[in-house]
Symmetry: C2
Subunit: 409 residues, 2 copies
C-alpha cells in the first residue's frame, strides 16, 4: 500500500476512534496486550530476521535496542496495560464558564485526529506509541526504522487483532510499509491527513522534521542538560546529584552533559568531583583545568549531547553567568541548581527558560512517570502545545463546546 | 536596521520582559496608552501620508481599515488599558503535585520569549498585538503591511516611549522596517530568534506561513462556518441565528458561510429564510433550488469564505450527513446546530471536530471577549497549542519547576 493510501485509511478511521468510549478503548488495549503475548513466537521470528539482516551493519548498541526477547515482549504488553489503566483524557472539561447572556462555554480535551510517529529501529516504541495515541482517541500512523521493519510489522499485526476484537477499525493503527526517506517526507507534508507528527529519534531526524515539515510537529528529545553547583551548595548533595545525572543512564536525554561550578566552590568541589566520577571523562575549561586534571574542553564540548560518560566542566562567577551560559548553550530540556541559598535558587528557577528547572534534584527526573503523568510519548523541547514530558493529555487538542437557548450577538 | 539585527535586539530584550513583574508591565501598558493619545497628532499625520499613497491603489474597504481618527486612536489606547487590567498569566501554577519521593513538581505558565506577528494594513493591530505580547511577558516583533507602515512606525514610537518610561527595554517592541516579502520570509525562518510566529491576515498569508515557516506558528483566522438546521429545530430561533451569524458582520471569520437544512424542515424553513435574508444572495444546491429561488451553487460555493452577504444552502438527510459535509468542507473554526432534540444535539457536539461547536447559538460568539478570556490575539484554527480564541494564557508556554532536597533517581 502506498503511504498516501494508508494515510487516507487512517483518516477514515479517526472518527470511529474519536467517538469510541473509554471502555471500548480499554478493552482494545487489553486485547492488544494479550495479542502481543499470544503472538510472541511470530514476533520473535520476525525479530530474528531483522537481527540477522542488521548484524555487521549497525553498532552493538543498536543491535541491543533492536533485539526482542520473551521478557521484552512481556514488558511491552505490560506497558500497553498500563496505558489502559490511565484516565481517559477525551472529553475532560478543562474550564467551564457561564456567561452573563446564559451561554455555557466549556473548554474540553478532544482527540487530535491522526497522530503520526516517525521513530528509529526500536521495536518496543511500536506498541508504546500506538497505545498512547489510541487511548488519546486518535488514529495512529507509525513509521519505524528499516532495520526493525519485520519486527514492527509483526507487532502491528498483533495489535490490530486486539483493536478489531474490541470492534474498533483496523485502520486506526497503520504501519508505513515504505521505510525509505520518501515516506518520512510524505508524512511531513501530509497536510489535511496528519494532524500531528511526532519525530522520536536522534538530532538529525528532529532537525529534518523542523526544516521540512508543513504539518504540525512536536520536537522531542535532544537534551544538553546543565547542573550549576553554587557557592552555597551542599557539596555532598551536589556530588550525588551530578553523579546521578551523569552516570545513572548516560544515553538518555535527561542525563547531564555540563557541570557549571561557582569559582568559589571549585577548589573544594572539583577534586571531589574528579574522584567521584572516576569513570567519566571530564572536559575542562581553562579555569577548571587549573584545579584538576582532565581533557581540555574543545570548541564543541559545551554544545554537544555526549550521551556517554563524558562531562564538560566550566567555572562561572555566579548564578548570573551560569544562566547566561545556559541561555546560550542549552537545548532547553532540563537544568538544575544545587544551592542552600533560597534567593539564588529562586533567581535560577525564575530565570532559566527550559522545559524543566530543578532546585536540589537530579535532571534525571524529567520523565512522564516521575512527574505523575503516567506513560509518556517523549519529552517535548519546544514551546508550543506541550513542553516537557508528553502524557495522554498532551496528545489531545481542545474544543470549545457552547450550549445556548437561541443566543445571538 | 536589517530584520536580523532587529530580531537580535528583540532576543536581547526577552529576558528583561520575562522577569518583569506584573506591576511593571501594567505601568508600561498604561504609559503606552497615554503616549498613544499624547502623540495623536503625529500618528494622524503619518496616517495621512499612508492614506495619500494608498488612495487609488487599494479598495475602499482597505482604505477604511487603514484610516485612523482621534476616536480610533482613543479606542486603541482603551484596548491597551484593557490588557493592563487583565490578570497576568506569567507564573500561574497550572498544576502542582507532590511526589512520593518528596519532589514538588509545579507546571507553570511562562513567557514564550519573542513573539512575531505578521499582519496586514490595519494600524490598530499594532497596539493590540503589542499590548498582548508584552503583557504575556514576551518581546514583540511586528511586521505590518506596507500601506500602513508610516502609521505603524508612529504608533510603535509612541508605544516604545511608554515602555521605556516604565523601565522596560525599548527593544522589547520592534517594528520590522522592511515591508517586502523578504522580511516575512526571514521571520518565518528565524529559528532560534523567533519563538512563536502568528500570521494575522488573509488565507494567502496563512498558507504561505504554513508552507514556508520553520519556526513554530499558530494559524489564525479562516472561517467557513456552518449552521445545521435540524428537523427538530425551533424554526424561529433558527432564522434568528442564521440571520445573526450571516448578517451581523459578514466580513469576520466567525460569520456563517453555509446553512445545512434537514430535508424535512426545508419546505417550511427555506421560504422563511429567503424572506428573512432578503439582502443576502443565496447559493442553492439542487435540493434547495427545488423549493426556493436563488443562484445555483457552483463547484466552489461550499468551500469559500465569502466574507460577504452570500450564503450557500444545502439540504441534508440528517445530522450524520450534516457532520460528513462539515468534516469535508469546514475550516474547523465554528459550527452550530439548531435543534430541540437533545440527542441530536449531543451527536453534533461530540462528532464535529472544530474549534467551537454550538448548540442553539450563533457562531458569532467565537471571540475572546465573548468567551470570557478578555482581549484576544486572534482565533486559532489549528489543533496544536491553542484552538479557538487566543488570550494571554495562549501566548504563554509552560515550564516545570521542581523543588527537591537532594533527590536522585
Amino acid at each position: 500500500m502506498t503511504t498516501q493510501e494508508l494515510l487516507q485509511r487512517a483518516k477514515g478511521a479517526k472518527s470511529a476512534m474519536a467517538l469510541a468510549g473509554t471502555q471500548t478503548k480499554n478493552k482494545a488495549l487489553l486485547a492488544m496486550a494479550d495479542a502481543l503475548e499470544r503472538h510472541q513466537e511470530a514476533i520473535l521470528a520476525a525479530n530474528r530476521l531483522d537481527l540477522d539482516a542488521a548484524r555487521g551493519t549497525v553498532s552493538d548498541v543498536m543491535l541491543d535496542r533492536l533485539a526482542l526477547s520473551p521478557e521484552r515482549i512481556s514488558g511491552m504488553a505490560q506497558g500497553v496495560r498500563e496505558v489502559a489503566a490511565l484516565p481517559d483524557p477525551v472529553g475532560t472539561v478543562l474550564n467551564r464558564v457561564e456567561r452573563p447572556n446564559g451561554l455555557v462555554v466549556e473548554k474540553t480535551a478532544a482527540p487530535m485526529g491522526v497522530i503520526a510517529i516517525i521513530y528509529e529501529s526500536r521495536p518496543n516504541v511500536t506498541s508504546d506509541a500506538a497505545a498512547l495515541a489510541l487511548k488519546a482517541g486518535s488514529a495512529c500512523v507509525l513509521r519505524g526504522g528499516k532495520e526493525a521493519h519485520r519486527s514492527a510489522a509483526a507487532i502491528v499485526e498483533a495489535l490490530q487483532e486486539g483493536l478489531t476484537a474490541a470492534g474498533l477499525p483496523q485502520d486506526a493503527l497503520c504501519l508505513v510499509e515504505d521505510t525509505t526517506r520518501q515516506s518520512a517526507t510524505e508524512l511531513m507534508c501530509a497536510n489535511g491527513l496528519v494532524d500531528l507528527l511526532i519525530p522520536r529519534g536522534g538530532a538529525g531526524l528532529i532537525r529534518s522534521c523542523v526544516e521540512n515539515a508543513t504539518v504540525p510537529i512536536i520536537e522531542t528529545g535532544t537534551g544538553i542538560c546543565h547542573i550549576y553547583v553554587d557557592k552555597d551548595a551542599d557539596l555532598e548533595m551536589a556530588l550525588d546529584i551530578v553523579e546521578n545525572a551523569k552516570c545513572s543512564r548516560p544515553s538518555v536525554c535527561n542525563a547531564a552533559e555540563v557541570c557549571l561550578v561557582h569559582e568559589a566552590a571549585a577548589p573544594e568541589f572539583l577534586p571531589r568531583l574528579a574522584q567521584r566520577l572516576a569513570q567519566v571523562e571530564l572536559r575542562l575549561d581553562p579555569g577548571a583545568a587549573r584545579i584538576i586534571a582532565g581533557t581540555p574542553a574543545g570548541d564543541q564540548d559545551f554544545d554537544t549531547e555526549f550521551l556517554d560518560y563524558i562531562l564538560a566542566v566550566k567555572l562561572v562567577s555566579g548564578v548570573e553567568e551560569a544562566m547566561e551560559h545556559i541561555a546560550a548553550h542549552s537545548t532547553h530540556h532540563s537544568e538544575a541548581i544545587v544551592t542552600r541559598n533560597p534567593e539564588t535558587a529562586q533567581a535560577f528557577l525564575r530565570g532559566v527558560d527550559s522545559a524543566a528547572v530543578y532546585h536540589n534534584a537530579s535532571t534525571r527526573f524529567t520523565d512522564g512517570g516521575e512527574f505523575g503523568l503516567g506513560c509518556e510519548m517523549g519529552i517535548s523541547t519546544q514551546k508550543l502545545h506541550a513542553r516537557g514530558p508528553m502524557g495522554l493529555m498532551e496528545l489531545c487538542t481542545l474544543r470549545y463546546v457552547i450550549r445556548g437557548q437561541g443566543q445571538i450577538r
